[in-house]
Amino acid sequence: MTDLTDEMPVPAQRPPTASTGTIGWLRANLFNSVFNSILTLLCLVLFAAAIPPVIRWAFVNAIWTAPNGQACRGGGACWAFIGEKIRFILFGFFPSGELWRPIAVVAVFLLMILVACDRRSWGRWLAYLWAAGLAAVLLVMHGGSLGLSTVETRLWSGLPLTLILAVIAMVAGFPLGVLLALGRRSNLPAVRAICVGYIELVRGVPLITVLFMASLMLPLFLPSGMTIDKLLRAQIAFILFAAAYLAEVVRGGLQAIPKGQIEAADALGLSYIQRTRLIVLPQALSLVIPPLVNTFIGIFKDTALVTIISLFDLLGTVDAALTDPNWQGFYVEAYVVVAAIYFCFCFFMSRYSQVLEREFNRGTRR
């Protein structure tokens, strides 16, 4: 017995109203079970209790202009404090007549990072661009030639200092990290032992220790008579620290290369250096770009620790701003604004790394 329907396919119908549209969405997502309904109600109660006071504090009762701290008290948030101090928070002790220089530096960094984010730009000329950019940044900050007045490194502070420390740590730490990763996978036991030792040593101790070590011990390491700039000490500490973490990230990429690649390269007669440079590293590095970006985010956040050795990065300038006797006690306003600045950088970089990860996965999925 056969059973058949018309030749034409049955036209699609609209689903029942209770399961689509706003009501459908609410039912499916917020009230789809007894437990969830209770949770939703609890959350709404929480919102009702917490959000209005925050809005009142931050906007309704906030004081936007005031001559000094005294006048700014008694209401909600004192945004006048931010208005007064924002230049100091962002650029710190840099001479106020020359502020265009740190502003230019921050702009150059943002430009370099944005260009690097666009995958179409990846190539040799990007490396040259970055080298030129970093050289320009250091020149503009330090001055001493091209008619710019010299500004000592101890006056470099705020956002430019944070960016300099983080970016140079990654740029200089990266080649060192690659070498360490290759060394860790070497067949020569002595080389492997030393690389493993370095990586585990640096990863096993807190960053503060590395900063202390650089700050207190680097001067001792130098032959008598030589001194080393305090900022340079911190920069070296970050480079050494970043190198160890980058080495582990690169090692992950190296491990993911199938053995067949190395065998094919050997069969073609390539030397170790040629094989590494032309076959292994390009594949390994492109595999680990998302974790590399995550490492950069981590280093960027870690620069906040230089306050311990009296360098004034973005967090240090905020703290210094809070010690002004005329403007006492506006901790919440200050920290919220600085947190927002850090958040913007880190959040967008992490979103970017997620986009990258999706793109790379699409390429490898068959």
Partner: protein, 246 residues
């Protein structure tokens, strides 16, 4: 007519706005073997997943072994006890041995003593012809062996109905026969089966009824003899020409 064990009446399902199952009506009798075929996206997997409530239908009625499937958890549990399912990706539990995979549900759902469950498990391992793999882990078995273990795992619950969702589609060609052999044996012993598959040779051997689905509806339903030699619908003819060409 034999007793009806599965009945679909006017079943509709939507994914959001997409109408994926359109007005399905089907009746499977006890001991009958239904083979469901059709192009990809036709809703065949969705339909059999609705039978054990792995998917929810929004309109219509589905009755399995006399129990109507609603959102009532008790009904769903009762239905799932009587319906066994074999998946395309096997879905064996990798952290348990083969024997533990087979005894898990009988112990925790049917509340059997461990010894009894193990005896049943070994019996079915024997039936699917891999009794020596009892203490191995799924990761150590080949694809064909894993799928046979999956069949044995469902059988250990002594279900009334067995559902197969493209059981051989993920297997290398040389392993398809060993799984189909087990399924044919099962069919000959009188198990009620609903199979989604592209294996037309198997369908010809075993099926009582062929069901062709396309774009969410059941287009044609016929015994294999009529279905393959004399398909009534143009869409069925087109599909058969594509699938039987090679």
């Amino acid at each position: 007519m034999s007793d009806t064990v599965i009945e679909l009446q006017g079943v509709h399902k939507w994914y959001g706005d997409f109408h994926v199952l359109k007005d399905l009506n089907l009746r499977v009798g006890k001991g009958e073997k239904f083979v469901v075929c059709g192009p990809s996206g036709s809703g065949k997997s969705t339909m059999i997943r609705c039978i054990n409530r792995l998917e929810e239908h929004q309109q219509g009625r589905i009755t399995v072994a006399g129990i109507e499937i609603t959102s009532d958890l008790k009904n769903i549990d009762a239905v799932r006890r009587e319906v066994g399912m074999v998946f395309q990706q096997f879905n064996l539990f990798p952290h348990l041995t083969v024997l533990e995979n087979l005894t898990l549900a009988p112990v925790w759902v049917r509340k059997l003593p461990k010894k009894e469950a193990e005896e049943t498990a070994r019996y079915y391992l024997e039936r699917v012809r891999i009794p020596e793999q009892a203490d191995k882990y799924p990761g150590q078995l080949s694809g064909g062996q894993q799928q046979r273990v999956a069949i044995a795992r469902s059988l250990c619950m002594k279900p009334e109905i067995m559902l197969f969702d493209e059981p051989t589609s993920a297997l290398d060609p040389e392993m398809i026969k060993e799984v189909l052999d087990v399924m044919i044996e099962l069919a000959h012993e009188g198990m009620t089966m609903v199979c989604v598959t592209h294996e037309m040779g198997f369908a010809r051997t075993v099926a009582d009824m062929m069901v062709f689905m396309d774009r969410g509806e059941i287009v044609e339903r016929a015994p294999p003899a009529d279905f393959f030699s004399n398909p009534k619908s143009e869409r069925t003819r087109l599909f058969l020409s594509q699938i039987l060409a090679h």
